[in-house]
Symmetry: C3
Subunit: 211 residues, 3 copies
């Protein structure tokens, strides 16, 4: 397995775990755990492959990804009650998945399109889509709408990977840079509540105020 | 038409009917009926074709599927008020569509990928995606989150079809097995409220309790 | 640039603006503006390209579309507070985007599939999907469920373009017909509340009443 394969399996596994945790919060049955794990785990990568034209998508080519989702769902089904705060665990696993997938999405986008801006966007969307689908399906407020930094962490990770790659870093180093950057930003946001000042409705003011 | 073509048109038509019934519950206009019918009717098959790389998707190749959705929407528009409980009718039609699509999705997945596990997943996702989209768009709680068995019925139908096929059953027999299994499970769930015991938050206990 | 290129960039830009306006209503941060702008701006066209098998999708081929979304998001971020009613502006920009995309979606569908009914459907879905995604992600009631005419305007625009094309009109004339028709219908709906009489639950009555 290449470093990217490791990231890919890691991203699928931890996103699958967050999907199964969402299922546990909604008190679904065991098959519901597996379904939410699969959609969350493979959703982002499926989107990435579709827009890049890399079909059949990755889990059709390598069904082992589906087995990973099923196994993770079963583990969460039998262990979720041992965790003190399942939502907090979900957030941290989501951060790991976001970091892995931001790099994977950017790497595949860069390899197949050759365009840095496309790579950053496929990185961001791959990293965030699984969580978006999970929240939509389970009827919870989207993680996108939370006040602290989320999409920006994916942007930083994908951008860091692309920048390091363009500067000539080998794949494993560029991947490491991207994963560490994304996780540092998202982890700081979870731990310390990092947030940009959000947009607020305001009366007219001098443009310099917001620059 | 092959048996699979019949299943495909049946799946599109009954899911289209559930979409139109959802439109009637939301008091949309006639075009809204057609739109909800089309998205619900062709949503699952569209996803199946996209992930398998079978593009252009089926309704671009054979626009007759779109005509089916339009005709079904018009029929529901003029007859839905005659039905005593539109939600109950929606659930039963959804069960028929789920059964037809679980087999169709598994059959196309098996034919194009050769992998049984991929076939089971494309069957499950094809069967459930139309209903998921319908519920998301009409703002109703997802059928996925209902307590009684839903995804599991699609799993049983897709799994039954794949198992019968691997055992050498001819296409029409394997399809019959899958459709009957899926409908029996989902029908029992609607009629008798069949459900797995859902996951519930619990204090720590011996692992044997849940095995 | 051909007339269709102009429509395409216009559709992306105005839908991106509506996504950014939705972000401002939800008080997201600047990256959230860009993300919502991108998903809303390129969502419809991405779907169109996927179902038609035109992959990699348009923004992977021409990353300039992504730059457009980023620039539009930045402009809205710094100017949205100057607008009296951001929701009203969102609705009018949405109407422009819907008109441009109904024609673009129909034109690409007609060129790649050769089928008028497919072209009308890709037109309708391309025109409405961006707004659907925007509303789903920001947790607002879908524009689809509003009482006044919405999907019908896309249908009229796409149908007008296809009809004019089949009658031999040159591309630029057919595009103009489609855009003007769609915008007139949707604009009238916003300005004057045009609506079909919605479906209402009723007791049995003579079929002639509704014909």
């Amino acid at each position: 397995m290449t470093p990217l394969d490791v990231l890919d399996y890691a991203g699928v596994a931890v996103f699958a775990a967050t999907g199964a945790l969402a299922a546990s919060r909604k008190q679904l049955d065991m098959i519901g755990f597996g379904f939410m794990a699969a959609i969350t785990g493979i959703g982002g990568g499926t989107f990435r492959d579709l827009v890049l034209g890399a079909t059949p998508v990755f889990w059709v080519e390598k069904p082992a990804y589906l087995i990973v989702c099923a196994v993770v769902a079963a583990i969460i089904y039998f262990t979720a009650h041992l965790v003190e705060s399942r939502y907090r665990l979900l957030l941290w696993l989501d951060a790991v998945g976001l970091s892995a997938y931001a790099v994977m999405g950017a790497a595949k986008g860069l390899a197949l399109s050759g365009s840095p801006s496309v790579a950053v966007v496929t990185g961001m969307m791959t990293a965030t889509l699984g969580g978006i689908l999970r929240d939509l399906l389970s009827g919870e407020p989207s993680v996108l709408m939370r006040p602290e930094i989320y999409v920006s962490a994916a942007l930083v990770g994908a951008g860091g990977f692309v920048a390091a790659s363009l500067l000539g870093a080998p794949l494993i180093a560029a991947s490491g840079v991207g994963v560490v950057l994304a996780f540092a930003v998202r982890g700081g946001a979870i731990r310390y509540g990092w947030a940009f000042s959000p947009y607020r409705s305001r009366a007219g003011r001098r443009p310099e105020d917001v620059m």
